[in-house]
């Protein structure tokens, strides 16, 4: 039963008595101790927030204002011109279409990659915990080893493998690659999560004669919403943020947004337009940020639930 209380205790907004944070009893608000705690936390918050602030304000300034050189100041006359330019008309070479096509390419890559990689990893984790077979742990160990190896090591052979499959330079290729490289961390998450679920449920279902897939879909899945959300967030942000696989495997017509961001920022034509660069940066970061802010609580809960039982 301790697993259940563990899960409950990591819910982000503790309400019940059983889930109170640790530490001494509550005291009056302004004790020296509290002041120290809050000032440290506020200091760190400034460190975390400053880049976000700079990104947004710079993207709303005009170039003369930027050249004046005050990174703290708010834009005197906020303007979304740089955003519009970054989205619709920033150039790479002869192509001046901005980030918009890249956005849709990223959507086309992210959705199928996320769904497929999560499904496979979930089934994997389930098989690893509940249906062990000879060698399953060895496979898992190698998989985790694999997550440490720099991607560059696999790049060349993967180009050749996808060529032999006849899918190099297509959406399929980039989806497969994302599934492969998402597998270690996702499998680890799901494996740990399923290990934290009470084994009695699984055993009872087996006694009743339920098979591999039935137990998975009817018992395991309904209990795993938090970890699915975590996996979803990890994959959506991870795949959206990917640069290397997109540029190598997706093919020119499918370049994701990060690749176009890099192209726009690094193809300096004349004076660098820092406001457009920052607007492009913000735009590229917007989707993962939105995902994160919408689902923040689930994220925390899921990470915790998956990780605690390492």
């Amino acid at each position: 039963m301790s697993q259940i209380s563990t899960m409950a205790s990591v819910s982000p907004a503790p309400t019940g008595a059983a889930v109170e944070p640790r530490g001494p009893r509550p005291k009056p608000f302004f004790t020296p101790r509290k002041i120290i705690i809050y000032s440290i936390l506020v200091m760190f918050s400034l460190y975390y927030l400053f880049p976000l602030y700079v990104m947004f304000t710079t993207s709303l300034k005009t170039m003369p204002e930027i050249r004046f050189g005050n990174i703290f100041s708010l834009p005197t006359a906020p303007s979304f011109d740089a955003w519009v330019k970054a989205w619709t008309s920033a150039c790479t070479g002869l192509t001046c279409e901005g980030l918009a096509p890249g956005f849709w390419n990223s959507v086309k890559i992210t959705i199928p990659s996320t769904i497929i990689s999560i499904f496979i990893a979930a089934v994997n984790g389930y098989a690893l915990i509940n249906w062990r077979f000879k060698g399953s742990e060895i496979f898992f160990a190698i998989l985790i080893f694999g997550s440490f190896i720099p991607y560059q090591v696999f790049l060349y052979p993967l180009v050749m493998i996808t060529r032999e499959m006849g899918i190099f330079g297509s959406l399929q290729a980039v989806i497969i690659v994302h599934t492969v490289f998402g597998m270690p961390i996702l499998t680890l998450l799901f494996r740990n999560y399923f290990a934290s679920l009470p084994q009695e449920l699984f055993k009872a279902a087996r006694v009743d004669g339920a098979g591999f897939w039935r137990i998975f879909f009817e018992i395991m899945l309904p209990m795993s919403l938090p970890i699915f959300v975590v996996a979803l967030i990890l994959q959506v942000t991870g795949i959206w943020n990917d640069f290397l696989f997109g540029v190598v495997f997706a093919g020119t017509q499918n370049y994701p947004m990060t690749v176009q961001l890099n192209n726009i920022v690094n193809s300096a034509q004349g004076t660098p337009e820092y406001n457009v660069n920052m607007a492009a940066t913000v735009l590229t970061g917007l989707v993962p940020l939105a995902v994160y802010f919408v689902s923040g609580k689930w994220f925390v809960r899921g990470v915790a639930a998956g990780a605690v039982k390492g």
Binding site: V10, S45, N130, L143, G146, L155, N262, T284
Partner: protein
């Protein structure tokens, strides 16, 4: 398929199910379900790795067609100062990053765990950079650290003539510039993991510690931290795998400069394999990275997989 015929034949001869039959048919659906993982492990993680190791002993240039040349590529690798600098950089950055991420993550988690107000807000602020890519992280910090228009320029314009924050242009400080950006992106995640670990510690332990009169900090150091072994392992694995791969951040923030003072091994691999058109050299470097990962991971793998029996 000769493989499938074999167990049947063997099963006919002997009464008890053959070894092969047991291996294949036991938990068959689980094996089918785990097939993508097995293929990934065998083809990508084992296959591609062996391919990499094999071709690191050849003189392949642009295409993997070279002749076997023994350890020539490795001799050249360790005679190359860029590689040696890359390795030193990665060790320095890796040790500092690991320590700071764990320590800062833990301290923040402890602070947030003190029944504070706005807990959710603080946590959100600390974790959001984790959602951003290293490319975005690198570009933002590059902008902040821009000597003329960034923080340094601003402070000088505001009257602090001697304010200096030129780390990305200073060979001795550039690794710390990388560290600032890297920590900004990653500490929040570590904090969330640690927080979960802290909240997983049984309340009874705190009560017992308080009754025994053990000071809070000592309870954390000698009781709570050892109890969080699982979380620590996960955190170290995740942070560690990020460090070895360090590439995007360097490319976006410093591109290895000034000079070669912020070069890292992954970048060496990429440069020689692709733009340098020397696969053999790139793969030799990749193999060395692989070797160091294995050396680091073996103790952990032993603890995780070797020391314990089956759980089910």
């Amino acid at each position: 398929m000769a493989d499938t015929a074999l167990p049947l034949e063997a099963g006919a001869k002997v009464n008890r199910p053959s070894l092969l039959k047991r291996i294949i048919l036991h938990n068959l659906p689980a094996k089918i379900a785990a097939l993508p993982m097995m293929v990934t492990v065998l083809v990508v993680f084992v296959g591609c790795t062996l391919w990499t190791i094999y071709y690191s002993f050849t003189n392949s240039k642009l295409l993997p067609t070279g002749k076997f040349v023994g350890i020539e590529q490795y001799e050249r690798l360790f005679a190359t100062s860029r590689w040696n600098v890359s390795v030193t950089n990665l060790i320095t950055y890796g040790v500092l990053s690991l320590i700071f991420t764990l320590v800062v993550g833990f301290i923040l988690a402890v602070l947030i765990d003190q029944k504070i107000r706005f807990e959710s807000a603080f946590r959100t602020i600390m974790l959001y950079p984790f959602a951003l890519s290293f490319i975005v992280t690198g570009l933002v910090w590059q902008w902040i650290m821009n000597p003329t228009l960034g923080l340094q320029g601003t402070m000088r314009n505001l009257g602090w003539e001697n304010f200096t924050f030129d780390w990305i242009a200073n060979p001795r400080m550039v690794l710390y510039a990388l560290l600032i950006a890297g920590l900004w992106q990653g500490t929040g995640f570590c904090m969330v993991l640690m927080l979960a670990g802290l909240r997983g510690v049984d309340e009874e332990i705190w009560k017992a510690a308080r009754i025994d009169g053990i000071p809070t900090w000592r309870t954390y150091v000698s009781i709570v931290v050892p109890m969080m072994r699982g979380v620590m392992v996960t955190a170290v694995v995740i942070i560690g795998s990020g460090i070895v791969r360090l590439y995007d951040l360097v490319v976006a923030l410093t591109n290895g400069g000034p000079g070669i003072s912020s070069e890292v091994p992954a970048k060496y691999v990429y440069n020689y394999m692709f733009s340098g058109g020397n696969i053999g050299q790139g793969l030799a470097a990749a193999t060395m990275m692989l070797l160091s990962v294995i050396i680091i991971l073996i103790p952990w793998a032993y603890l995780e997989f070797g020391g314990k029996g089956r759980r089910t």
